[in-house]
Amino acid sequence: MGKRLKRLVAVIKKEMIQVLRDRRTLAIVLITPLLELFLFSYAVDMTVDHIPMAVADMSLDNESRALIKALTASGYFDITLSVRDEEQVVRAIDEGRVQAGVVIPPDFAQQVERGDAQALILLDGSDSFTVQSGYSAAMAIAQAEAIDLLAQQVGRLGISVSLDSLPVTTATHVLYNPALDDMVFIVPALAVLILQVLSVNLTAMAVARERELGTIEGLLITPIRPTELMLSKMTPNLFVSAVGLASITLLGIYWFDVPFQGDPWLFAWVSLLFIISGLGLGLLISTVSHTQHQAQQITVLLFLLNLLLTGFIYPRAPMPPVVQAIGNLIPLTYAIRITRGIFTKGVGLSFVWTDVLALAFYGGMMIIAASVTFKKRLD
């Protein structure tokens, strides 16, 4: 056992030196997460507002102005362009100068009086975020404006139906994130996404590199066993990944004021488990790749699956079962649920234990699989 430990320590030392010597890689690896965090926080506004809008107001009366005012007062639309007719609105959207338009027909006020007024709102359907936000905002604003007008008309008729408030009001509370703050969505998931990318990428190149440079033979003639080699390849990268995770989480909490609702220690331990599963997956990629180039291509593919299938951006619930099953092969899927649970919802182990168990199992399987594949490939 003592001998075994000594072997392990020796190889870990070698790996440590290799990781620390390549300063440029280390710097890129550690700065990337922070860059991503800042990009997400300042660049991404998932709830789109102030959508540039063109107006073709062919009435220019009180009612048309009231409708336009209702649209802008909501904060969802900014009038940036005034044009003559529908055709010009469409052209402005074609050119990409605005993303929305409103067309108000002539004699709008009289039409409202008669009760058959029709306004037209146009949305740029080439950008999904704009359409989603714009659609429901426009619907809600137009409906509110219509009810308002109705209330005024009925009031003038002198009939006392309490129309100042609707008979049923619905208060919508968004749990965990009442202000729909983007960062509350992003930081917990981004922390684990980056962790996954870091841990997989760091080890994915490791074995392939030794093979490509021919140094693998040097390792093979030492008495070290495959599992030991895998473990020692993981250790230095474990530290690098942990530093990445800590920097993102702390920055998210203290700089971007994202509340951490749950138990930090639980989060830390589970993250460790998650890092191990990522490093294991990276090693597996590394052992099945002939060259670093191949390893790199596989990690790019994995990154894509990470983004799309794990629930990081797109919700998993509407996906077809086959695709959900593929998502279950990626450790990030479990980690996203766990981090949303602990970080955002503040629930304990009793709510997330199935995912934690899955991660532990996954990590173990990966290391075993990597060792076995490595052994087979000793040819």
């Binding site: 890129i28 009925v154 968004v174 729909l180 619930a317 949303r340």
Partner: protein, 385 residues
């Protein structure tokens, strides 16, 4: 000169074709991506699992819950008996929305004081946004309907056509129609394909070019190239051609499957699109060369490419609209060719507009390509160190 470029090209082609595994990954990756977007991704979420805590269980509360379900946005998965249970179901992830109807709902509706509480899981972005928007709109429409039927009962002259007792919309004095241009059914793939093509070409060209050059350096082959009479510009060109070909093949397959299998309409001029794509490919090749000049080994190049890809993804307008970004980030986005190509791609494929509306973007892309190639040729000297 041509012979020298040809020689390098031949070498690159042989190298590319020999590494079958990489080639398979390269060609299949865009298809996987496309299939995922085609079958897996739903940006607007409906059938959100919902639990209901109905303390009234009368006709008014049933009507309310029915209105929510009928919209298709919410599926009632469970009825529970306390607010705590609603929150627990959301905590545990069994439901992502909860409706809490107070007692005496029917009477309250009659008085006009009824209030429903809707709880939405705020830990998942798309779900909470969809749920929030849907709940607001459906609740408002439902409330208006209740209001109209009340008003009718109290004998209000609202001029409903006797034969046409359909919706409440035509009773309101103002009817706003909403028209979504280019993509009336909000089909996700229509959004995705133009941006994905832009993304794909950029990622592949940068990554392949950077890897190709750095690999030579790492293996020490660069010394052999240095002793040949080839100039750096010629070497660059030779390296770029196979990569450009792979990128174009991928572009065409993705576009073909998108158009013929997923029925994404191609509105504009195909040849215009192809020519502009070729111009755009050059920008990625130039960027890849730049990345390779600052990388010492493949690992560094790989990391740099990953960063470039990510930043391009965030700032280029592929997923997130650019007009919401602060000015400084919009300027930063201009450093990526993706930013110019996405409006071109969306313009030609989705909107069907021609060069007369896109010339600004095309000119910007052209300037960019010339600048980045000049810069790369200057920075790229087959160095020894």
């Amino acid at each position: 000169m041509l012979r020298r470029i040809w020689a390098v090209m031949q070498k690159e082609f042989i190298q590319t074709l020999r590494d079958r595994r990489t080639l398979v990954i390269l060609i299949s990756m865009p298809m996987i991506q496309l299939l995922l977007f085609g079958y897996a991704i739903n940006m607007s979420v409906d059938h959100i699992p919902t639990v209901v805590f109905d303390r009234s269980l009368d006709t008014a509360s049933h009507a309310y819950v029915d209105a929510m379900v009928a919209s298709g946005s919410f599926d009632v998965t469970d009825y529970v008996s306390s607010q705590a249970q609603v929150i627990e179901a959301i905590d545990a992830g069994r439901a992502q929305a909860g409706i809490i109807v107070p007692p005496d709902f029917a009477a309250q509706v009659e008085h006009g004081t009824a209030q429903v509480l809707m709880l939405v899981d705020g830990s998942d972005f798309f779900t909470s946004l969809s749920a929030y928007n849907a709940a607001e709109v459906i609740a408002q429409v439902h409330a208006t309907e209740v209001l109209m039927s009340k008003a009718e009962r109290s004998g209000l002259p609202l001029g409903r056509d006797p034969g046409q007792g359909s919706g409440q919309q035509n009773l309101l004095p103002l009817d706003t129609r909403l028209r979504i241009l280019y993509n009336p059914n909000l089909d996700d793939l229509w959004f995705v394909i133009p941006g994905m093509l832009a993304m794909l070409i950029q990622v592949q060209t940068i990554a392949l070019t950077a890897a190709a050059v750095v690999r030579e350096r790492e293996r020490g082959n660069i010394e052999q190239i240095l002793v040949t009479p080839i100039r750096s510009g010629e070497f660059m060109l030779g390296k770029m051609v196979p990569t450009a070909l792979i990128a174009i093949v991928n572009l065409l397959t993705v576009l073909g499957v998108g158009v013929y299998w997923f029925d994404v309409p191609f509105q504009g001029n195909f040849w215009l699109f192809l020519w502009l794509s070729l111009l755009y490919v050059l920008s990625g090749l130039g960027l890849g060369l730049l990345v390779s000049t600052v990388s010492q080994n493949q690992k560094q190049a790989h990391q740099l490419v990953a960063v470039t890809t990510l930043v391009g993804l965030m700032l280029g307008g592929f997923i997130f609209p650019r007009y919401t970004m602060p000015p400084i980030l919009r300027v930063a986005g201009n450093l990526f060719p993706l930013t110019y190509f996405i409006p071109i791609s969306r313009g030609i494929i989705t909107k069907g507009v021609g060069i007369e509306l896109l010339w600004e973007q095309v000119a910007a892309l052209f300037v960019y390509v010339v600048a980045v190639l000049l810069f790369a040729a200057r920075a790229f000297k087959p160095r020894l160190d």
